[in-house]
């Protein structure tokens, strides 16, 4: 059963080959057995999941099929609010915090008959690219447990790669779904900003965050995205008019689809093995009928500085509410109100989160706002315009997701600049609010997965997924399973 995709598993449940409860219980058992090595999960909600699987099974038995993924277990990154289930963002600050409401996506999963079985590890408050900064410890890469799983949705990617769960949800603020997908050899989608409600996702950078699906292949991801997408009156930035429907992208030729390759992304700072694998993927797409053309990606040097200014500025504001008063961590030795704030925040947040808060507060402070934040906003709109112009010429852009494969745990943790540069291919997509799908495209000589991404114009998910399907029908990187520890 663990080799079935989510869609296949749902079909099997609907056909009566096994029950949703059996599937749920088996996955829970498997997680209990394997996750000690990976640390992808921070919490299981086994009892609730079993109860829920019975309800869904009854629904299916009664002939009400709520979705293509009905009956299938799913796990969520721990920054997605679940009513009565701890949602900690992998931070000491929110340990023990149980939201009183569900994120909109969680309500949608429930309506679709999916079974939430647990919460996934991540970088603290989604800040990081290696899932090493959380209070629950680092996530281990299923392909080599001495290496990172990527981040910040490292738990979401590792759990799918290790077949601990068929599909998962992550969040992507600057690459946090796509980069761990690449490091763990799984497929993921960072949707267009405004396609999926952010309500209930604990905000890191409001103008950049999006929730998205991770799975074993593009079909599972597409099915999950159509479930979680759609307008939400609780999120006014969720401007999509109706949920996605990807059922009609079956065409397996790419006639005339124009794909741009940013030449400068391959020039320096990229691992040669990654470069070769990504260019091979471009070749594969060309062979399938796509028209591939190189171009120079403008403004590439401005992406990381502008992204870190805007992201940190918004984070510094969003994280102010963690003041030790209403929920979460409060310093025990605080005597005055000021101490409650100062000591609770000093002790409750980890070093990377504090670094971003400091950076963000600095760039917004009077006297520096114009020099940093305003300039970054200007850079952002230039980047947006540059993409718009590119999409007059290309249907999509093909690029690496990360400059390297998964590195050793601890290798970059003391070098924030190096860590930040890991977002160089992904962050501009968030700055422009565009969709991007991450697909596995090979392995390096150590056997670590390599991935690439296809970036499209806003709300062009259908087109991206169509190309992703064709690519995966011609390759089998996505079907590879980590050896050694598993199965």
């Amino acid at each position: 059963m663990f080799d079935m995709s989510g869609l296949k598993l749902s079909r099997a449940i609907k056909a009566g080959e096994l029950s949703s409860e059996e599937a749920t219980a088996s996955y829970i058992k498997r997680i209990e057995k394997t996750d000690g090595l990976l640390n992808a999960f921070v919490r299981l909600c086994a009892e609730k999941a079993i109860v829920r699987s019975r309800e869904v099974q009854k629904q299916i038995d009664d002939g009400n099929i709520p979705s293509d993924l009905a009956g299938v277990p799913i796990a969520l990154k721990d920054n997605i609010s679940t009513a009565d289930i701890e949602t900690s963002c992998a931070s000491k600050m929110l340990k023990g915090y149980k939201p009183v409401f569900n994120a909109t996506v969680v309500d949608k999963l429930e309506r679709a008959g999916m079974i939430v079985i647990g919460k996934l590890n991540m970088d603290e408050f989604a800040m990081g690219g290696s899932s090493e900064t959380g209070v629950f410890g680092e996530v281990h890469n299923p392909w080599d447990v001495s290496r990172v799983a990527g981040g910040s949705s490292g738990g979401s990617a590792a759990a799918v790669a290790a077949r601990e769960i068929p599909v998962s949800l992550g969040t992507d603020t600057g690459g946090s779904i796509r980069q761990p997908c690449s490091f763990c050899g799984v497929t993921g989608i960072k949707p267009t900003y405004g396609a999926v409600s952010r309500y209930g996702a604990v905000a890191f950078a409001s103008s950049l965050d999006q929730i998205g699906p991770l799975g074993r292949d593009i079909d599972d991801c597409a099915a999950l995205l159509s479930i979680i997408s759609g307008p939400d009156e609780k999120d006014s930035t969720c401007v999509i008019e109706k949920p996605f429907n990807f059922s009609n992208t079956g065409n397996n030729r790419l006639n005339g689809i124009a794909i741009g390759i940013p030449r400068n992304y391959f020039a320096s700072g990229i691992d040669p093995e990654v470069k070769d694998a990504v260019l091979m993927a471009a070749g594969e797409i060309e062979a399938a009928g796509g028209h591939v053309e190189e171009f120079e990606m403008p403004l590439a040097d401005y992406v990381i500085p502008a992204y870190y200014i805007i992201g940190s500025a918004e984070a510094s504001s969003n994280l102010l509410r963690f003041d030790g008063l209403k929920y979460g961590y409060r310093a025990k030795n605080a005597k005055t109100l000021n101490d409650v704030y100062r000591i609770s925040r000093s002790e409750g947040f980890g070093i990377e989160v504090k670094r971003r808060i400091m950076m963000g507060s600095f760039v917004l402070s009077s006297g520096y706002y114009d020099a940093y934040y305003k300039k970054a906003l200007q850079a952002r709109s230039l980047i947006k315009n540059a993409y718009s112009k590119l999409f007059e010429k290309f249907d999509m852009i093909l690029s690496p997701t990360a400059p390297s494969t998964a590195y050793k745990i601890g290798e970059n943790i003391d070098d924030p600049m190096k860590m930040y540069m890991g977002d160089m291919y992904t962050a501009s997509v968030n700055m422009a609010g565009l969709p991007s799908i991450a697909l596995p495209c090979g392995f390096d000589r150590l056997g670590m997965p390599i991935g690439f991404q296809l970036i499209g114009n806003a709300f062009s998910e259908e087109k991206l997924i169509g190309v992703g399907r064709i690519y995966q029908s011609r390759t089998d990187y996505h079907a590879k399973i980590p050896g050694g520890v598993l199965l």
């Binding site: 997605i80 609010s81 309500y199 209930g200 905000a203 999120d235 509410r321 003041d323 706002y369």
Partner: protein, 475 residues
């Protein structure tokens, strides 16, 4: 030496929208602590604001009334500071692109007309409330007010006297009331003003200013201005310097004291609120808002005089508060007797409000019942005596006028035989007065009429009584 006082005002008005600025919780005043809250207005992680469009309409109406330019696209910004009553640790407000700017209002102070310029009007959310529990020594948080919509109306430093300030505040209050955007109850804090004040030699550069807060009544505003201007002048005349600071007015002691100075001023780190889209007020929406623009007090005054023939003095009494003119409009519409309705309100109702200590903002008289009475009076079914009595009973006890009149036998009696009977006994019982009448004392007629009325328990038709009384005396 002559000093000129220069003042600008920041007025916060709590909007009477039914739900909060960014969620659907009620804005009703009172309520057990933390019963008007939800995850959004208590700032729970992951929640997002959703703009209440009614608030935008209220802001636009206010902007139109104050002759402002209405921004067809405006944005919200976050203003950050830590305080336990602010659950997100930022207030969503408008700094960089407010909804209205560059307006003005005409005021009159000491018989002199003056234009006060309005710099901007912006929307923002209120904070919660801290309750200090003396019993346990703890401080408790109540988020019922958190996220209640406010308008901040910022004037230019155009005021020179306390009289101008008060006249502006009165006119602003009247305008907001008539727009129906704020109930302007100062005791509930639904309108409050901060005064920025500096002094200078006439024509000189602007002096260093202070900002005064906690001004809970118009009287407090006037007293605080007097105190603060004297304080600044004294400092300057003795060679000192004014510190730019925020000062808190203590109305009981009649003094203000420094809260925080500019050196300790907080850096609010404003930046555009990323969770809200820019507010776009397209032409169609603007037209719709303009079409809903209500009649303001001065327009009502003119109409009452022109259409109803009400005196100017009465018209201004009728428009002294929106609740009063609303009551008048309702009664005069239903009864179709505007003049009688006007005298009812400026007479009986105002007398009753006085004697029952009812403030205009708390006025809740039943217009339907009162209009029935006005009609009964004008149709000659009750006399003025019975009318006044019943108005009192309606106002104080909310009785049903018709059953009250029936029960108390207050219908006017014009029946000749009943009146004749009462006149006969009044004449028989008061020979002295009858003699006086024959001796030519006009006053005696009034006395006798009173006696007849008394016998009829006040229900006699005065015309009929007078006619029959005269007839019988002349016999």
């Amino acid at each position: 030496m002559n000093w000129e006082i220069v003042m600008g005002l920041e007025v916060h008005a709590e909007l009477s929208a039914k739900s909060k600025l960014f969620c659907s919780c009620t804005t009703a005043f009172g309520g057990e602590p933390n019963t008007h809250v939800c995850p959004v207005c208590s700032g729970m992680p992951g929640t997002l604001p959703r703009l209440n469009r009614a608030v935008v309409e209220y802001a636009v109406l206010t902007g139109l009334a104050l002759n402002c330019e209405i921004a067809q696209s405006c944005k919200f910004d976050r203003k950050h500071y830590f305080y336990p009553d602010l659950p997100k640790a930022f207030q969503v407000s408008q700094l960089y692109s407010p909804i209205c700017c560059n307006g003005h209002m005409e005021i009159e102070s000491d018989g002199v007309k003056k234009t006060i310029n309005i710099r901007q009007i912006h929307m923002e959310e209120d904070a919660g409330k801290l309750i200090h529990d003396a019993r346990t020594g703890s401080t408790l948080m109540d988020f019922n007010r958190s996220c209640v919509p406010l308008l901040e109306i910022v004037s230019q430093p155009d005021f020179r006297t306390a009289g101008e300030v008060i006249s502006y505040l009165e006119k602003l209050r009247e305008t907001l009331l008539y727009l129906g955007v704020c109930d302007c109850k100062m005791q509930e804090g639904s309108i409050r003003a901060d005064v920025n004040l500096s002094v200078r030699k006439p024509g000189g550069h602007l002096g260093v200013r202070t900002e005064m807060k906690n001004l809970n009544s118009f009287k407090a505003v006037a007293r605080a201005i007097e105190y603060e201007s004297e304080r600044q002048i004294n400092i300057l005349e003795s060679g000192g310097q004014i510190t730019q600071e925020t000062r808190r007015w203590d109305d009981d002691k009649g003094i203000s004291s420094g809260m925080r100075s500019k050196e300790n001023a907080q850096d609010y780190r404003y930046f555009p609120e990323p969770d809200l889209l820019p507010v776009c007020i397209d032409d169609a929406w603007l037209r719709q808002i303009k079409a809903s623009f209500p009649e303001l007090a001065h327009q009502k005054r003119e109409r009452y005089v022109k259409e109803h023939g009400v005196s100017a003095a009465q018209a201004s009494l009728l428009t002294s508060h929106k609740n009063i003119s609303d009551l008048f409009d309702a009664i005069s519409d239903k009864s179709n007797c505007p003049l009688e309705s006007a005298s009812l309100i400026t007479g009986e109702i105002m007398r009753l409000m006085n004697s029952t200590d009812t403030l205009p903002e708390d006025l809740s008289a039943d217009a339907d019942k009162l209009s029935v009475l006005v009609m009964l009076l004008s149709e000659g079914k009750i006399n003025r005596n019975a009318y006044k009595k019943t108005v009192g009973a309606v106002f104080v006890h909310g009785v049903d006028p018709e059953s009250y009149i029936a029960e108390k036998g207050l219908l006017m009696v014009s029946d000749d035989s009943a009146v004749t009977h009462a006149v006969e006994s009044a004449i028989a019982e008061n020979p002295g007065a009858v003699d006086d009448w024959y001796a030519g004392k006009e006053k005696a007629l009034g006395f006798l009429m009173g006696q007849v009325m008394k016998k009829m328990r006040g229900t006699g038709n005065p015309e009929v009584v007078k006619k029959i009384l005269k007839k019988m005396l002349d016999k």
